[in-house]
C-alpha cells in the first residue's frame, strides 16, 4: 500500500497506429497531458511558473512510424490501482491508440538501447532477388547523409544496425531490423528507407503505386532482452 503523501511512479505501455503515425511527438505529448487530465488521474505537475502535468516518454516516435511498444512514465499524487488507471485511460484514448499495460516500473527508461522495427514495402518493382540485395547492402559500410535541424552529417548506417533480415512475403518485402535507439545512439528508421531508395532503386516512383510502413515491434535493452 502506498501512503497518501507518497508520489507513485507509473509506467504506461501503449500502441499508436494507423493515421496516428502522422501525429508528431510534441503533439502526442500535449494530447497525452489532456488525456490524463480528463481521465481524472491525479498526475504530478512540474514545478515552476507554468506548471504542467509531467510525462516522460521513452525514445520519441518519428512521424510516419507506427508502434506497438510505446512507453511513458508519470507520477501520481493520489494512489490509484494500475487496473483503474488502465481502464480510465482506455476510455479516453482516441481510436488508433490502445493501452497495453500499466504497472509500477522497476527499470529506468534510459535502459533502452535498441528498437526492433518491422518495415514492409509494397512495390511492383520487387524482384526475386530484391530481399537478398537489401541484406547485402546493409551488411557492408553504408554512408548516408543525415539531415537534422539544418545540419547535414554523413553517417555510416552499419554502425547503427545490430541486425537486419529482409525477406519476401506475399509480393512484399518485410525487413526485421534491430537498430540503435536511445539517448546515446539513435537512428531514424526512415534512413533505412532512404538507403534502399538510393541503392536498390525501389520506392522512387509515385506513393500510390509504391509505399511502405514502419512498425516499432519492441524496445530492447543492451543485451537485447525486451525492455519492461
Amino acid at each position: 500500500m502506498v501512503s497518501e503523501s507518497q508520489i507513485t511512479p507509473i509506467r504506461i505501455k501503449f500502441k499508436k497506429y494507423g493515421s496516428l503515425m502522422y501525429i508528431s511527438h510534441l503533439d502526442l505529448a500535449r494530447t497525452m497531458q489532456r488525456i490524463i487530465v480528463r481521465s481524472g488521474i491525479d498526475i504530478w505537475y512540474s514545478e515552476g511558473f507554468n506548471p504542467q502535468p509531467k510525462i516522460v516518454f521513452a525514445v520519441p516516435l518519428p512521424v510516419g512510424v507506427e508502434s506497438e511498444c510505446e512507453y511513458m512514465d508519470i507520477k501520481i499524487n493520489t494512489p490509484m490501482s494500475c487496473d483503474e488507471i488502465s481502464r480510465r485511460l482506455s476510455a479516453n484514448f482516441p481510436e488508433e491508440m490502445k493501452v497495453l499495460d500499466v504497472y509500477v516500473p522497476e527499470t529506468k527508461l534510459k535502459k533502452i538501447m535498441y528498437i526492433d522495427y518491422e518495415i514492409t514495402i509494397s512495390s511492383p518493382y520487387i524482384e526475386a532477388s530484391t530481399a537478398e540485395k537489401i541484406n547485402l547492402i546493409f551488411s557492408n559500410d553504408l554512408y548516408i547523409t543525415k539531415k537534422s535541424k539544418g545540419n547535414e552529417k554523413e553517417i555510416n548506417i552499419k554502425e547503427y544496425i545490430k541486425s537486419l533480415k529482409s525477406r519476401t512475403s506475399d509480393d512484399k518485402i518485410v525487413i526485421d531490423a534491430i537498430i540503435a535507439s536511445g539517448s546515446e545512439k539513435n537512428l531514424n528508421p526512415e534512413l533505412l528507407i532512404e538507403a534502399i531508395k538510393q541503392n536498390i532503386g525501389i520506392l522512387t516512383t509515385s506513393p500510390i503505386s509504391e509505399y511502405y510502413t514502419i512498425m516499432r515491434k519492441d524496445m530492447l535493452c543492451e543485451d537485447l532482452t525486451k525492455f519492461q
Binding site: 502522422y22 502526442l28 497531458q33 488525456i35 481521465s39 511558473f49 482516441p94 506513393p207
Partner: protein, 616 residues
C-alpha cells in the same frame, strides 16, 4: 482510397491536418442515416477547428440520430497538388468518403477572403462550382456564417444561404430534405422552393436582380409570390436551454484556439457604428452564471483542457461576469486552470477583475479604443473616454503588467489628420502612465499600437460609406509612422490592400461571382494568407471581368439606393441605421442597450432579451 491517401501524407507538410481520428469525433453507422452533411470550413484545419460556430453546428446536427454531420477543411496547396496529381477528390474527415456523395454540403463563410478557397473546395470535390450547373443527383450546397449577411458576391455558387444562428435552422432544413427524399418528391428545384418558405433561408435563384445603367440595382424581387421579399434572420431564443457542445473534438495538432471556448452571451449592447457583429447579432441574449459554470465543468471533464476562455463580443458587458468568474474560480484555481477574458473594455476594467484573470498565469492586456479624439469616438459611437483607458492601463501596470496592446482604426468616416496624430499622442500618454506608477515591474514598458483600416460593412450605420482610396489609406499609415517616435511604442498596421479587397467583397453584388470563379480557375486561393495574397493579380482579375473595384469599395451610396443585401433582414431597421449614420456626422452618441432602448428594431425577433426592456 484511404491506403493511397495515407502514403501521400508522407510527402506533405503537417499531415496531422488530414488524418482525422481525434477523440470526440462522431462516427455513425451509415445504415441508420437518412441525411449526410459535409460541413466545410474554407480554410486550414487549424483555423476551422478553432471556430466555435462550427463546433456548435457539428454537435447540434449530430444530436439527431438519423443525421450524420462530418467535417471538411481546405487542404493546403501542397496537399491540393497531390490530390489533383493522384485524382483524389475532397473527402470528409470522419468517414473519408468523398464529399460529392453527401446529401448536403454546408459551408461556413467567416470572412470575405475565404471565397476563392471555398469555391476551390467545391471544385476539389469534383462538383461544378455554379449552382445552376449542378444536377438533382448532386448534393445541395448551403452556406452560412457572417458573410451570409451579404450573400450576393457568392450567390451564384450556393443553392441556399442560412441567415442567422443555425443550430435549429439547419436541423429543420435537413428534416425537410429527409421528408422530401422519403416521400419521393425530392428534386432540387422543388426542394429549394420549399426551403424558401422556412424561416431564415435565402435561395438566390428565386430572385431577379435588374441593374441601372450606372451599375446600381434597379430592382431586386422574388420571382414568385410565395417567396419572401425579405429573409429574416434566425436567432436562438434562450441560451440557457439551447444546445451547447460540451464534448468538443480534441485536435492532435495545435490549433489556433486550443482551449475551452465558452460562449457567455450573443449580441452586443454597444452599437459601435462600424461594427457588423454589433448589429447582426442583436438582440443581446445571455447565459446565466449557473449554466456557464455547468458547461465549463462538463467541457473540462470531457477534454482535459487547462485553459478556459470566456467568449463574447465584449465580455465586460456580461451582466453575470462577477458571479460567473467567482463560480468558476472556485474549482478552476485548485485545478490550475487558467481563465482568460478576451474583449475587455477599458472602462470596465477593475482591479478585482484583473486579479481574477491573472490568478494563475500572466497575460498581456489588450484594449480597443478604435479612435482617439473624443469627437471621432463619438462619431463611431465608441462610448469610451481617454481617462477610462488611462485608468485601466494604470491599474494593469500597478498589477505588474508591462505590456499593453491598443487597437485603432484608420479611415473611419469623418476622420481628420488630427485624429490620426492623436493615436501617437495617446500611446505616449500610456507610456508616461507607466513611469508614473511608483511600484512597477522592473522592465521597460511595451505599448503595441495596432491600426487596421476601416472596411464599410453591410447592415451597419456605415454601410453607405465609401472606403478611403488605397493611396489615402497608405498616406495615413505613413503619417502615423512618422508621428510615433518613442521606441517603447511598437506600431503595426494592417495591409491596406487586404482591407480594400475586403471592402469590395463586403459591399459586393452578384456580378462579383464571375471574378471569384475566374480567380479560382487561375489558381488563386488562401487570399487571407500573406504568402498567397496577391493584390495585383486581383486587380487583373477585376479588369478581365469588367469589375470596377472602386464602384464597390470607394463609392458612397445614397440612403435610397437598393443595396445588394437589402433582401436580408437582420431585425435592425434601415431607419435606425440611417439615423445612426446621420448622428455620426454630428458626433452624437447613442446610449447602449443597458442604459436605454434606442429602438433599433431587433426586439421584434423575440428571445429572452436581457438588455432590451421593450421586448419584455
Amino acid at each position: 482510397m484511404y491506403k493511397n491517401l495515407s502514403s501521400i501524407l508522407k510527402s506533405v507538410s503537417k499531415p496531422g491536418r488530414y488524418t482525422g481520428g481525434e477523440y470526440g469525433q462522431i462516427i455513425k453507422d451509415k445504415k441508420d442515416i437518412n441525411c449526410r452533411i459535409a460541413f466545410c470550413f474554407p480554410d486550414l484545419y487549424e483555423i476551422g477547428m478553432s471556430n466555435l460556430g462550427v463546433r456548435l453546428l457539428y454537435g447540434a446536427l449530430n444530436q439527431e440520430n438519423d443525421i450524420w454531420c462530418e467535417r471538411v477543411y481546405a487542404p493546403w496547396t501542397d496537399m491540393e497538388e497531390k490530390m489533383r496529381q493522384y485524382d483524389i477528390p475532397l473527402w470528409a474527415h470522419e468517414s473519408k468518403d468523398s464529399v460529392k456523395d453527401f446529401d448536403i454540403v454546408a459551408f461556413s463563410l467567416q470572412y470575405e477572403l475565404c471565397y476563392t478557397t471555398a469555391i476551390n473546395m467545391i471544385d476539389l470535390a469534383k462538383l461544378p462550382i455554379y449552382a445552376a450547373d449542378r444536377t438533382d443527383d448532386m448534393p445541395v450546397l448551403l452556406a452560412g456564417g457572417p458573410c451570409a449577411y451579404n450573400p450576393e458576391p457568392v450567390a451564384d455558387f450556393f443553392d441556399v444561404f442560412s441567415i442567422g444562428e443555425g443550430e435549429e435552422a439547419l436541423v429543420e432544413f435537413s428534416r425537410l430534405y429527409i421528408k422530401m427524399k422519403k416521400n419521393g418528391t425530392y428534386n432540387k428545384k422543388d426542394f429549394l422552393r420549399e426551403v424558401s418558405h422556412l424561416k431564415g433561408f435565402y435561395v438566390p435563384s428565386l430572385y431577379d436582380v435588374e441593374y441601372n445603367e450606372d451599375g446600381t440595382i434597379k430592382s431586386f424581387e422574388p420571382k414568385y409570390g410565395d417567396v419572401p421579399k425579405k429573409v429574416e434572420k434566425r436567432i436562438i431564443a434562450d441560451l440557457n436551454t439551447s444546445y451547447f457542445p460540451t464534448k468538443p473534438i480534441m485536435p492532435f495538432i495545435e490549433v489556433v484556439h486550443d482551449r475551452i471556448m465558452l460562449e457567455t452571451f450573443r449580441g452586443c449592447i454597444r452599437g459601435c457604428r462600424f461594427c457588423q457583429a454589433g448589429m447582426v447579432f442583436r438582440p443581446v441574449r445571455e447565459k446565466n452564471a449557473q449554466t456557464l459554470n455547468r458547461q465549463a465543468k462538463e467541457i473540462y471533464e470531457n477534454t482535459g483542457y487547462t485553459e478556459i476562455s470566456l467568449t463574447s463580443l465584449s465580455i465586460s458587458d456580461y451582466s453575470c461576469l462577477h458571479e460567473a468568474t467567482d463560480l468558476l474560480l472556485e474549482w478552476t484555481n485548485p485545478k490550475k486552470i487558467n481563465l482568460s477574458l478576451p474583449s475587455l473594455r477599458a472602462d470596465s476594467f477593475t482591479k478585482e477583475l484583473m486579479d481574477k484573470v491573472s490568478s494563475i498565469r500572466q497575460s498581456g492586456l489588450t484594449f480597443a479604443p478604435e479612435a482617439v479624439t473624443q469627437r471621432l469616438r463619438d462619431a463611431i459611437n465608441k462610448n469610451l473616454y481617454e481617462e477610462d483607458l488611462l485608468n485601466a492601463v494604470r491599474l494593469a501596470f500597478e498589477g505588474g503588467k508591462s505590456q499593453v496592446k491598443l487597437y485603432f482604426m484608420n479611415g473611419l468616416p469623418t476622420e481628420t489628420y488630427e485624429d490620426i496624430e492623436g493615436i501617437a499622442v495617446l500611446a505616449k500618454h500610456v507610456v508616461d502612465e507607466y513611469y508614473k506608477v511608483p511600484i512597477r515591474p522592473k522592465k521597460p514598458v511595451s505599448v503595441t499600437v495596432s491600426v487596421s483600416c476601416f472596411v464599410p460593412k453591410p447592415h451597419t450605420p456605415f454601410q453607405w460609406e465609401g472606403q478611403d482610396d488605397l493611396q489615402l489609406l497608405r498616406d495615413k499609415q505613413i503619417f502615423l509612422a512618422e508621428k510615433i517616435t518613442d521606441k517603447k511604442i511598437r506600431y503595426n498596421w494592417h495591409e491596406a490592400k487586404v482591407s480594400r479587397l475586403e471592402a469590395v467583397f463586403s459591399k459586393g453584388n452578384r456580378k462579383l461571382s464571375k471574378a471569384i470563379a475566374y480567380a479560382q480557375k487561375n489558381g488563386m486561393r488562401f487570399d487571407a494568407w500573406d504568402e498567397y495574397f496577391d493584390y495585383d493579380k486581383w486587380m487583373q482579375v477585376f479588369a478581365k471581368c469588367s469589375i470596377d473595384p472602386d464602384f464597390y469599395a470607394n463609392r458612397k451610396m445614397s440612403y435610397d439606393e437598393i443595396l445588394p443585401w437589402d433582401v436580408i433582414d437582420i431585425g435592425v431597421s434601415k431607419n435606425f441605421l440611417i439615423s445612426e449614420n446621420k448622428k455620426a456626422y454630428k458626433s452624437k452618441t447613442t446610449p447602449n442597450c443597458k442604459e436605454k432602448c434606442s429602438g433599433c428594431g431587433a426586439n421584434k425577433l423575440g428571445g429572452d432579451i436581457t438588455w432590451c426592456p421593450k421586448a419584455r
